[in-house]
Point group: none
Chain length 230, copies 2
Amino acid sequence: MTTILIIDDDNELTELLDEFLSEHKFKTKVFHNPMEALNSLKASVPDLILLDIMMPEMDGFQLLRKIRETLDVPVIMLTAKGEVSDKVVGLELGADDYLAKPFEPRELLARIQSILRRVNSKNSMVDILNFESLDINKIKEEVVLDGKTVSLSTSEFEALLLFANNSNKVLDREFLVENLRGITWQTYDRSVDVLVSRLRNKLGETPARTRFIKTIHGVGYKFIATPYKK
Amino acid sequence: MTTILIIDDDNELTELLDEFLSEHKFKTKVFHNPMEALNSLKASVPDLILLDIMMPEMDGFQLLRKIRETLDVPVIMLTAKGEVSDKVVGLELGADDYLAKPFEPRELLARIQSILRRVNSKNSMVDILNFESLDINKIKEEVVLDGKTVSLSTSEFEALLLFANNSNKVLDREFLVENLRGITWQTYDRSVDVLVSRLRNKLGETPARTRFIKTIHGVGYKFIATPYKK
DNA sequence: TTTTATTTTCATAAGTTATTCACAAGTTAT
DNA sequence: ATAACTTGTGAATAACTTATGAAAATAAAA
C-alpha cells in the first residue's frame, strides 16, 4: 500500500487530507511537527510527502532541504495562495510539485498519481524500453528509431514514455492531460493533440500511416508496439 | 440509461442542467429541496449526483453526509465562486469531484464521464469477454474476430458490449435505443437498425447468415455466442 | 399469391472530433 | 542580448461518425 506522509501544522486540514487520502486507498501518516516528521523518516520512508511551507519551528523549505540531504522521496509542497515565488524556490530545492491552497481534492489526487507514476516508471528495473524498431533509453533520454537517433523535446519524451509504459492500452485525453501536465483541464484542450501530432511527426508517422500511436476516435490514443527481443 | 440526480435550489440552473444533460443522453431527476431528494434515494438510486453546496434547509455537506451514510453513489459538488475561499472544501466528505460555478457545460460533461468510467471499470471485474471466435477487450477497446482485429467506432463498440453482456437474451429496440442513445423511442427511428447493420457488416455477417446478432422479427435482436473457455 | 408490415441497406447530410498550421509567449542556450 | 528551441492557442481543414429518409429486401399475414 502506498504511504503518504503529511506534514502540516493545520489540524483541520490534515484531518481532511487524512480522510480523503485514506478513502483513495493510501496509507497516511500525519505530523504537525517538522522535527518529529524528520525523525520518523529515519525509521521508515514513505512513498510520497505532502509538505506545508508555512510551519512554526522550521519552515517547509528548511525541512525539504534536510529531507533531501538523505532521501530521494517525491515531495509535493503545499502553500498558501498568492506566493508565486515560493513555487520557484520550492521546485529549485527539489520539490516534485507544488500546490496552492486552497486546492481541489481532485487536483491533489491527480498530481499524487502523476508523480507516483513517474517515479515508478523511473525506478523500474528497466532503463531501456525496446520495441520493434524503437529503443527508448530512459537514462540517456534518447530515442532511437530504425537505427537513427530522434531528437525529442522533454515533453515529447515524457509523452512517449507514458505511451510506452502503457502500451496497448487506450489512454483517454483526461489521463494524458493529467499525467503529462499534472493539471486538470479546463476547457476543451487541444494541447495533447498537438503534442501527439508533433511526436508522430518525429517518429515518422502520419495519422493515416501510423506505426505506434493509434487514434481512438472519441476517446484518446493507444500506443501499439510489439516488444522486441534480441 | 444513466440517471443523474440534480439537487440545487436554483431553478434556472437546474433547468439548464436538465436540458443540457438530457441532450447528452442522460436521464435527469431534479430536486430543489434536499429532503425530498433524500427521500427519493430510498426509492431509486441514480448513477451520479450533482449536489449544490448552498441550499436552504440543509446545506450540501450535511446532505452529502446523509447520503454517504447509506449509499456509495458518485457525487459531484457544485459551488458558487468564493464560497470555498479558504477552505479545502470538497475534501471534507468524500465528494468524488467538485466544480465551481460558473462552469463550462463541456467540463461538467467531461467530469461526469470520467467518474462514470472509473466507477464502471471498477464494477466490471472482467476486462475481456471471450466468445467462440470473438474477443472483446475493454481496456484495449479492441475486438478480435477469428484472429483479426476489427475496428469499431465507439458506439459500435458499446453496442457490441451491450449485446455481449446480455448474450442469449432478446433485446428489444426500446431497450437498445435507451441504453445506447439514451433517447426516447420514436416509432420511425431506424438508427438502431443501421447501427446493427454496420456492426454486422464489420463482424462479417449478413442478416441471412448471422453468426452473432440474430434478428427477432417484430421485437429486436439477440446476441448468440457461447462463452469460450480456455 | 398478394398484400402488408417490418427490416436492411444506401447515400447523403449534419454533427463531432482530430490534425495541422502559423503565431505568440515563454525558455534555454550561446 | 540574441538566437534557437518549446509549447500552448486559435483557426482552418480534414477525417470520422452517426442520423435520416427513401428504396430495396425480407418476413408475416391474409
